[in-house]
Symmetry: C2
Subunit: 290 residues, 2 copies
């Protein structure tokens, strides 16, 4: 087992298994051939071609696109084709910084193969001359990665809230962290990946944040999404990432990135350059790990 | 002007302008058609095909390959085709962590288009509640980037010395830094790029290090490679990188990476994701900036 295994899990992609999903003329998603077949039942909304699926150009506004697609997705949910409904919408746009073309239920994003965004917060303290990280254990009730280890705080990025406000909100909800502590979080870069997980396609960019919490702070499970928190020396965290798949696939990447930035993983590691290059890929055709 | 300009300068590549240089069966470099023509004069060492140049398989050891290629390069130097001779050898290998197949004069590396490696050290202090960075001004006598702004310490990675020992040595030579201070440097990741610079091809991986120096430490120009050192607030450094090309092309990338890791450049920057992804590319065909 090696860090490379953790990277490869985040770069699983089957060429030929998808058709581009074209929205307002842009290829913004990827759907499996099976999902494309399901969309054939909604010809007023989607046109299913052999090599692509397009959203009807008749819907010309964010509201019209959102409403039309929501009707289809609700129907597919009733048919059991979209499990794990969240009741939370993600934006679909040409890039994160562009205005949304439409918004869709979060659970549908990996079926549409459109991009998702998230905020992950590495919580740490300096103790006994070394970095110790706060690690969360995800609830067994989570629709994705139940029981897996994760960052102290991690959440998806829904529409209608800024990244920063979302981070502060998640700090309170997931770890019982007061706003005045949470506001000490510092942005530290992004990681990205395109990978098949649990038969769905995850194409995400994660905004990483670090926070050195006070030594007397202990995160508290608050909203039921985290079962427990542990404080482990970074060496133990890294050993566990290297030798097990206990961590959620994307949480492992976020921690490897943290370890690189804080010098806990250095050039003596023979996969160092490969790991550095792999952490920030994630675009189609560029996410292979050499 | 934008940070994107700094990235694009590090991703200049003319498709079709090179032939692969094959060494021991591996495509490890890229030579221009003009340089390939020059190599036709040494048929015992190089075989020049229309679409590739190969090093003769008759040389079967590191020593034999090194000696044969050195003879050719010395001759090309005499003809004025390889300026800026360093008297320092770089390793050529399948990857940084593999044993060298041969070593070559450093000045020849961008003509052979083989990979180079370097160590760059971000020196900084916390002052007035903000990060201030030590910036070096390169001597006008440097063969590359004369007069450009640079990291406090930066150097190529020759054969026969570890990355760490090279860093400590450069700290002493370039900035007059005592070993006990230099040893506080911490590895912080790599950046990589493939780019045409001054009619040569630079395909490098840089090992980044950070060091928070004591507030009373002042780097001293020692070996004539640096003319002066300045201590600037990181905001001023970033403004200068965004709006001028005063910094050496690769030094700008190293600082942008530093600013991201330390939260001085965050998600509010509309090119944030693009910058994150571009910093660690640098492989053929994957170094385009979208």
């Amino acid at each position: 087992m090696s860090f490379r295994d953790r990277l490869e899990v985040c770069a699983r992609f089957t060429p030929g298994a998808y058709r581009p999903l074209i929205i307002a003329g842009c290829p913004l998603g990827r759907v499996t051939h099976a999902f494309a077949s399901s969309l054939q039942n909604y010809p007023d909304v989607f046109t299913v071609y052999e090599h692509a699926v397009t959203l009807s150009p008749n819907f010309k506004t964010v509201e019209a696109r959102t409403e039309a697609v929501a009707g289809v997705l609700e129907d597919l949910k009733e048919k059991g084709l979209i499990p794990g409904w969240r009741g939370e919408h993600y934006a679909i746009s040409e890039s994160f910084y562009d205005a949304p073309l439409l918004t869709v239920e979060r659970a549908a994003v990996p079926y549409l193969g459109t991009m998702g965004y998230g905020v992950h917060l590495n919580g740490y303290v300096h103790k006994d001359g070394d970095i110790h990280m706060w690690i969360g254990k995800r609830s067994m009730q989570k629709p994705t990665g139940p029981g897996k280890l994760d960052q102290m705080v991690a959440g998806g990025q829904p529409v209608g809230i800024s990244i920063w406000d979302n981070l502060i909100k998640e700090c309170g909800e997931e770890a019982g962290m007061a706003r005045d502590i949470a506001e000490k979080a510092v942005p530290a870069g992004t990681i990205s990946y395109l990978t098949e997980q649990e038969d769905r396609l995850r194409h995400d960019v994660i905004f990483n944040y670090d926070i050195e919490v006070p030594s007397d702070f202990e995160p508290q499970p608050t909203d039921g999404e985290v079962d427990a928190f542990y404080l482990w020396p970074i060496k133990d965290v890294m050993d566990r990432i290297r030798s097990t798949d206990d961590f959620k696939y994307n949480a492992a990447l976020v921690i490897i990135d943290f370890a690189i930035r804080h010098g806990a993983l250095g050039p003596e590691e023979p996969e160092y350059i490969l790991i550095n290059e792999a952490l920030r890929l994630g675009r189609a055709g560029e996410n292979s790990v050499r």
